[in-house]
Symmetry: D2
Subunit: 483 residues, 4 copies
């Protein structure tokens, strides 16, 4: 689309999109209706780090409607929708904010940040003032991928150590920026993080990678506060990962390349929930999908679902499209790039950009990186072969399209709202550790999304409930049920 | 098929089918190869109750190959394949058994038992002789649906009470037979069950319903020995329930009715694993599938998978095919029968025949039950309307077809073998309760089935494994991972 | 299924199945209702040669209800359903026929004829008596594959030549039988066929192969009477070929082998209508389907539909299931058999058994043909490798299952009835040649099948019809429209 | 996508996209290779009217590479991709053109023309100069929808009549513009069209609507030159209509609305090739698709493919998405709009914008049309209900996305090139009328696209070809074969 958002007025345009999205997010709207009066988040100061999209705007404004004070950054340098950010900053019409006099929530994000800018902005979500106007920090974190949780934890550690490691200590370009930010902070305010950490009641974490980091910290004994693992709510992991990617994978590829997917051979690396949704997305367009897997159970599932399951080495020379979905690193290597066909398309919908060895690609002698349009590059090898890489190896559904659609995010984000309410009210009841929401809340999230799809739910009779040994109103399944 | 198995020689024909099935059951064959020398089940006396099919024959002969002494009944009056039973009784060719001098495993089952016969036969699996030729009982149970586990538990209870309730105390036709058998036993040998119970190290249970019963007994404090819940191994619940039913549902409908499924409206009651496989089975044939659900999460899944989700009441008058998959009871009621179209087809692939109110159907005034062929009946209403009921409401995939195919059962049954080995060797390590197999065994089961499908599994590098925090050789997922 | 049809009474059982099928064949029942009084086939003597199944029984009894005198053979040695044949012979209850005193239509077919028996029976459909009881022949042919049409044409030719070629003149086992029958006829009645040919007003032909033969005869100038090509009615070729095979392919494989199709690699040779339906059938069960094609357009369609398209040579060593759908010959050769995996499954759903080189297979040195059950054989190579061949290379859906289901055959057969009515009434209006039914009849056939599926058809307004330049009531498409 | 194409340089960006597309259009590139030296279009002056997209750019430059002189307009006011137009005007790098000194093909089209501008530009494609620099007209037309063919025919008619009807004689806004342009032309040059018509050897027409118009003209006896119906080449109608729409329908909806399609109820009006592709597109994303149809054959196909088939009236109140695919008019009426749900999405992928009664919508009392972004409007009813209409009722895949992808258009456009070569060389051999390309060319088009998809084509043996009665190298099917 070639419209000029500036002409429309960024914030006004964002507001229209937010209003459309509200209709598609019945779970969040139900939260506003149910808890709007009660204001369960009054007093909460939430630092958020999550893709700053239209859907997130509806989440932010729902948290605000429940009483929270909020500061927001993104968790990905490409995923911000500027019109969403602008509208959130101005605030909903009822608040009477304008571009000149915004009355919404402060947002520290724009599309296409540099890594340096990203971490500079991330730091800013920790700068609240309390109800008396004094400097303060957040008492709640809402994180996606764990970046701000890490920033806080490392800040505390480095302050305890009295020193931040040199940037030369790492090859990771991104981690250099983390160290730069924390070194600066140590210099200007050596207790900045140490003061803030005890204020935090807990964090609700959105995604697999972040949850993994939390479990590791907990195992190592370095976790500072309880966490709710939103990712593993069924209505999150089995919905946004699967159905969200089914939607947004082909959307991202289409917008980026306009290449016909039908008839092509597409390799999906990984057959977890994201991989399952990705494979279905491509198959739904008539691609022939080949799956790679390390886990024999998931590999067997892929085979039973009718997919060819191969090692990447076996098919890298003949496939047309390569999508990583693993949450692991170095899935697509320099050696793979060398063997790919001319105009092969490579993208990542897993988590970090290191699923694809972008650093290695850039170092191939004689290679030229040529931008076709933002977030779409052709890497030209010295023999003229071109490989098309989407979103520089970062999440293509966010970089090349608009991420998961509102309806599926309404499920995830309703879990987030419930987790924030739960943790803010009862953090003391939660032991240090990583927790999931109780099943009845998970079922409630699903229930809030049925009417919008015209679903009629059957009710158990008392006799049937007794026969199954479950309450008529649920929860209906044991905790280990897999759906 | 109209071949006359008698002409072929039942056992010889069964043996051929067993040999074909062995090729399709790589997991079981791997068990024989791996443990054949070691004989981990030497000394085990296994009482089994599980559909006596060709696949079960391969399971039985695998258990025997690992050293076990075995007696076998079925868990369903219609599901026995007589040629399978005959071949198991005669035994594998290597044993040198013949019809006159069988050297296999005693089997107490045939296709089309009455309920009375069923429970008479079930009792027989408890009559072992020990290594000295003395009367003994099993030291291991292998159950499907929990019938022999129940028989033993109730036997012990009634012997403790010194009395068995009168058959008039229940309306349930089947439970009357249980009471009859136990009353007879109490009269002839009042300590029969009390002597046997302490011999049992544990039970491995195959299916949801049986597992549910075990958890209830455990909760009530009446469970007598540890149980391994095979049903909830991923390679069982997510494979045999889903992919097995995808195969066997349309197979059963086709063999029973020869009706074109394409273009028809089919209602699948329940969208658990069995329902998911059933819906896919019917959709794969071009039916338009409508799902009914009580659980909002499963209902939302069905909607996201593109199915219409309605209450049965809303569609009962227009649908052509009705399949219950719930494990609950009274899903299809007399009222539903009254509203169905002429020549509607009704079948159950869930668990017990009470998913469909067969008793109520039989009591409709003026109704006539007319057999089209065994396991296929038309119930003729007094206005001439006919409803076709498959397998008298019992599992249609077993009654009208041959049940799940070998390959998927190889997954389930490899779990059974591993569970029997585990429990027999380490029962003392297991607390009283219901346990699942550890994930590395679950992954192993999957791994044993990959080669047969030509699957290439990718191996983690050490660096990747470290990045994920898992061993290179697995297990790869947390226990709560849902697949 | 192991029921003994004899116990049930063959004809009585067939009658029940016919009654069930009538409900599934709304097109044929509409023919009876519309034309029952008018008796448009009064005076017609129809010689039929078409698979003697339950569905054909409903066709035969529809033709009879419209006034025709009929004699019937089958067009395939394995496809006869004996209970269907028996019921047709006895006749519908209204006629008052019994096994002892049948009042139905003479049928010359049973399941499992030898080739000699097949051609002996085929000859018998030409022996009518006219209304005066004098010897006569049919005045209408209804053919499937063109066997009786060929018999008549060759009979005339050989009588004209005064000699029948020696059986040694051909290697084809089946053609030897044709020559035998015609030689016998020439000896006993040298003008038998010459007398009969001029009586015939025309033939309606059911299938691609038969139509091809008719076009060839017409091109060569040897066609004796006009033909209606029923095969190329849209409601035939795009329905029974495609949707019928979608149903009956997996049904046949399942009944024959009980092998899990999900996860397997299946090769479908040919991607015409039969191939399209076959590929969908296998994919619907979770197989990974590979297609072979000679026509670049069909090959491109297969690729765009997401199938891998390969030469058989490239995949013969790794695939599990091989299905021919081509109407051509020597698709699966001896060389292919040598390269196949142990327990590969081979079947044909195209037309003749020469799609698979069965003769070559039988001649492999050391090979043993072992019957697992009727129509299912394992061919054991001298190294122990077994290949499973269905229905001895003949149509597996008819040999191993019950053929296409009633509903789709109702479409094809309603075309047959309309073609018989048309030709019988207006044969003189038809030039010598091969004709298709006019499009408005094709649409009518479809229209008669919509209610049964609950389809609501939209009606054009007059303005819309004018805009499109078509009548409100159809036909709606140009003759070259491809659907 | 929010990149600013101006920043990139429109033409340079267009050139990059053209180079990517060339890889995806193997048929067109094969044309250049095969005919580049021969220059079969030398002397051809082609007036083209077809969506000015990247794919069309590759077509135009292919025609130019074969020697043609070309002038180009679009056939849709919204479908032009300005960067494609710019690049075509500048010309390929080899020509040495620049923005200041373009050396490509004149293009008269931009995204978002008014209707007046559209017809002013359309007229310009008729203004060639001949090889001597004298005023001349085209000798070949290449049309999509028949607009320039109509302009020429009406021009001749009005010049013969000496008058153009008044603009008041029609309610059709677009036809008013046609009359305006022709009235102006009559005034300034009363023989403009009469001089030009005899120069034209013929037209190749791309689409159903245009073909329909040609057949009508031919029937009425007013067609001025022979036409090749490219639309009905199999590699066009069964590929671009079906597979193209499968790709571009969800692409258009996604870019326009970002609404989750999964779980939604989508109505597809019409089940021709476009409808079939559209239904598959939506189903592939997990929507529940309902089809409306007027043709009983297509309706039965839809039902057999598992879709619900209803009248629009029956489902208009509950569906979420409405897509017209019919080529007819007034499919979605004002009454329908009144009954739709809040935030229902309405779009057209058929042909003209009158499939949806946009004029009627605009006249609803109190309705407000509000632009969300270009080509996406919400129509706000006076009760606050909003309906979202895509591309103002014009082709949404072109207006909201980038139209069919290159690969499928390569099929259609290779047919166009072959048709232009054929007509230009042999127009005299073609009788006045509407012709389709011979089947061997159709197969050739398919053949040119197989390698790109890794398809292995099987070759007939001589014996097999003889058996089928076809040449080894094709064509393989009769003309009436439906694919």
């Amino acid at each position: 689309m070639d419209f000029n958002v500036a002409d429309l007025g960024l914030a006004a345009y964002g507001r229209k999109e937010i209003e459309l999205a509200e209709h598609e997010m019945p779970g969040l709207m139900a939260m506003r209706e149910r808890y709007g009066k009660e204001q369960p988040l009054a007093g909460a100061r939430i630092a958020g780090s999550l893709h700053m999209t239209i859907q997130t705007a509806v989440l932010i404004e729902t948290l605000a409607a429940l009483g929270a004070d909020i500061r927001w950054a993104t968790c990905n340098i490409f995923s911000t929708q500027d019109h969403a950010a602008a509208a959130v900053v101005v605030g909903p019409p009822a608040n009477g904010g304008t571009a000149e006099d915004p009355k919404g929530v402060p947002v520290f994000a724009w599309k296409g940040e540099s890594l340096a800018e990203y971490w500079d902005e991330a730091e800013k979500v920790f700068d609240f003032t309390d109800e008396h106007g004094a400097e303060s920090g957040p008492n709640m974190l809402l994180d996606d991928g764990g970046d701000i949780t890490m920033l806080l934890h490392l800040g505390v550690e480095f302050e305890a150590a009295g020193a931040v490691p040199s940037q030369d200590s790492t090859d990771n370009e991104e981690f250099k920026e983390v160290l730069r930010v924390l070194a600066r902070s140590l210099e200007t305010d050596p207790q900045r993080w140490t003061r803030r950490a005890p204020l935090v009641k807990g964090v609700s974490e959105e995604t697999t990678t972040g949850v993994l980091r939390l479990y590791e910290r907990f195992k190592e004994g370095t976790l500072l506060f309880p966490a709710i693992n939103v990712n593993d709510s069924v209505t999150k992991s089995k919905f946004d990962n699967k159905y969200g990617c089914r939607h947004s994978l082909v959307d991202g590829i289409n917008r980026a390349t306009d290449v016909m997917i039908g008839g092509k051979v597409a390799v999906v690396c990984g057959y977890g929930d994201v991989g399952k949704g990705s494979a279905e997305s491509l198959r739904g367009q008539g691609a022939r999908v080949i799956v790679t897997e390390i886990d024999p159970i998931c590999a067997l599932q892929a085979a039973m679902d009718g997919y060819e399951v191969r090692r990447l080495e076996s098919v890298v020379e003949t496939a047309d499209i390569f999508i990583t979905t693993t949450g692991n690193f170095d899935i697509i290597t320099v050696e793979h790039f060398h063997k790919m066909k001319h105009q092969a398309i490579v993208g990542n919908i897993g988590h970090f950009d290191n699923e694809i060895n972008m650093a290695g690609l850039a170092k191939i002698p004689g290679i030229v990186k040529d931008e076709i349009k933002p977030q779409v590059h052709q890497w030209i090898f010295d023999d003229g072969k071109k490989i098309i890489v989407l979103s520089e190896g970062r999440l293509l559904n966010l970089g090349n399209a608009t991420g998961h659609p509102s309806f599926v995010m309404s499920n995830s984000f309703t879990n987030q709202v419930l987790a924030q309410i739960e943790l803010f009210a009862k953090a003391d009841d939660y032991e240090l550790g990583v927790h999931v929401l109780p099943k009845h809340l998970d079922e409630e999230v699903a229930r809030l999304h049925l009417d919008a799809l015209g679903v009629e739910l059957t009710e158990l009779t008392k006799e049937q409930a007794a026969y199954l040994g479950v309450p008529v109103e649920g929860p209906y399944k044991s905790d280990h049920y897999r759906y």
